[in-house]
Symmetry: C2
């Protein structure tokens, strides 16, 4: 095999990369030309390097960061596969996030920004039997389900009577470490192991109804917070969700969720 070297332009054409890209990859040590002329600085690539260059182009096409590509190229097949799997998971997560975004955007594009009727009212005091969990914002959906799965057996075993709906309580801000609670309203069950109790004070609240998948809840909260602030009020934790029609009873398009945020005169 003759090893006539290629200057950067022809080499770029072979691997479907731009000259700028190749220079950048050289500079960052991802793909160095086999020879660099000391005098002129000209980069010379060997035809064998197209293999790596094509691989880089392929992985870039899948949106892997250059740093990760560098890792993957340098790694043994085993850890390389591991890196690729990690990236696959990252991409899968991005897609599912984008799909939620898409659904919200659909709704916005069709219904416009309004579409939520916010009511200012009063809530009675409630006593909830709850289980708690700590999670990040991204995990909320899974964690709530998990909590429901923990809660119902406890209630059943203890023979505690309760009526729907299920409730969930959230902090006001979506932080990295947020404490949530899932429960039901009941006067019974004090002292049951695994159960905790939450006394929700009565008082003024803002509320609205969300019909549709949970991925679109953000829209409802947006309307809710806007209405609260416009009235010069301040939201107070915990935010309450009541699952009037849940995933067990209806397809995701028909879920009904009541959103309630306690409010307070801002002067207070």
């Amino acid at each position: 095999m003759r090893d006539e070297l290629l200057t950067i332009g022809p080499f770029a054409r072979l691997c479907r990369l731009s000259v700028k890209q190749l220079r950048h990859y050289d500079e960052m040590g991802l793909l160095a030309p086999v020879r660099v002329d000391a005098g002129s600085g000209y980069r010379y690539y060997a035809p064998e390097q197209t293999r790596d260059a094509l691989t880089i182009a392929l992985l870039r096409e899948m949106d892997l960061p250059l740093a990760v590509i560098a890792q993957a190229l340098a790694a043994e097949p085993e850890s390389r596969a591991q890196i690729l799997r990690a990236e696959r998971d990252r991409l899968a997560e991005r897609i599912s996030g984008d799909q939620a975004r898409l659904e919200m955007l659909e709704r916005l594009a069709e219904g416009g920004l309004p579409g939520y009727e916010v009511t200012m009212g009063r809530e009675p005091e409630r006593r909830l039997a709850v289980v708690r969990a700590v999670c990040t914002p991204a995990e909320i959906g899974a964690k709530v389900e998990e909590c429901v799965g923990r809660l119902l057996p406890v209630l059943g075993r203890a023979g505690i009577a309760w009526e729907p709906p299920l409730w969930a309580l959230y902090p006001l801000d979506l932080e990295e470490r947020m404490e949530i609670a899932v429960g039901v309203q009941t006067p019974h069950g004090a002292g049951t192991p695994g159960l905790r109790f939450e006394a929700l004070p009565g008082g003024p609240v803002a509320e609205t109804m969300h019909i549709g998948p949970y991925s679109q809840l953000l829209l409802a909260y947006n309307a809710l917070f806007a209405a609260i602030h416009e009235r010069g009020l301040r939201p107070r934790a915990p935010v309450r969700e009541a699952y009037l029609v849940g995933p067990a009873e209806a397809p995701r398009e028909e879920l009904m969720t009541r959103l309630i945020i306690p409010v307070q005169e801002s002067m207070a």
Copy 2:
């Protein structure tokens, strides 16, 4: 409603935006505070501005560019809905692109980078009856289908005998304006209106078989080009695909496609 103004920090907390973001939005004219103290430069926001700020936060959450958000906020409801629909389409396209990427990444993560056996061989001369089209790289899939839909009736009406597979011809480089052709091998049909003919010269080729959805074809081409360049050969247009098992005959996981790239000694 008392209009006690808020400094940037408390206002940021209300709308779940960072102080940096608010300053940036002010600077670019997206959301200006109602009052800026001439002496100190302090920004003062009115509680009513939380509505716009929340909307901005919401649209950013859906990944709309700030410039588009500015447009949307300024526009009438009608054109706003239009803008949102356009963004929805953009996002939908990104998702489908990402899904293709994900599938390729799956395959890479599982099978590793190898997985394609590239054969160097010789192809006989072939005479194809084709229809042509011009498209961008993103449209290829749809255009090829459209071409098939145009080709088959013409063949049928003219009573031209042919045998599977269907073939497609592509240029070497994926450019913005690429000419493609779809056809079948047949000795008949000269002069049929709507049909053109393509004489594929025989000679040395590199080829491989791709089994799976078309969204993963890039992987096969990567292996193919790498093999060609490693042997010091040069690919020649047109690239040929033969659809041995097409979408009409099998689910997408089981599609079989033969990829053939004519090659030439690089010295020539």
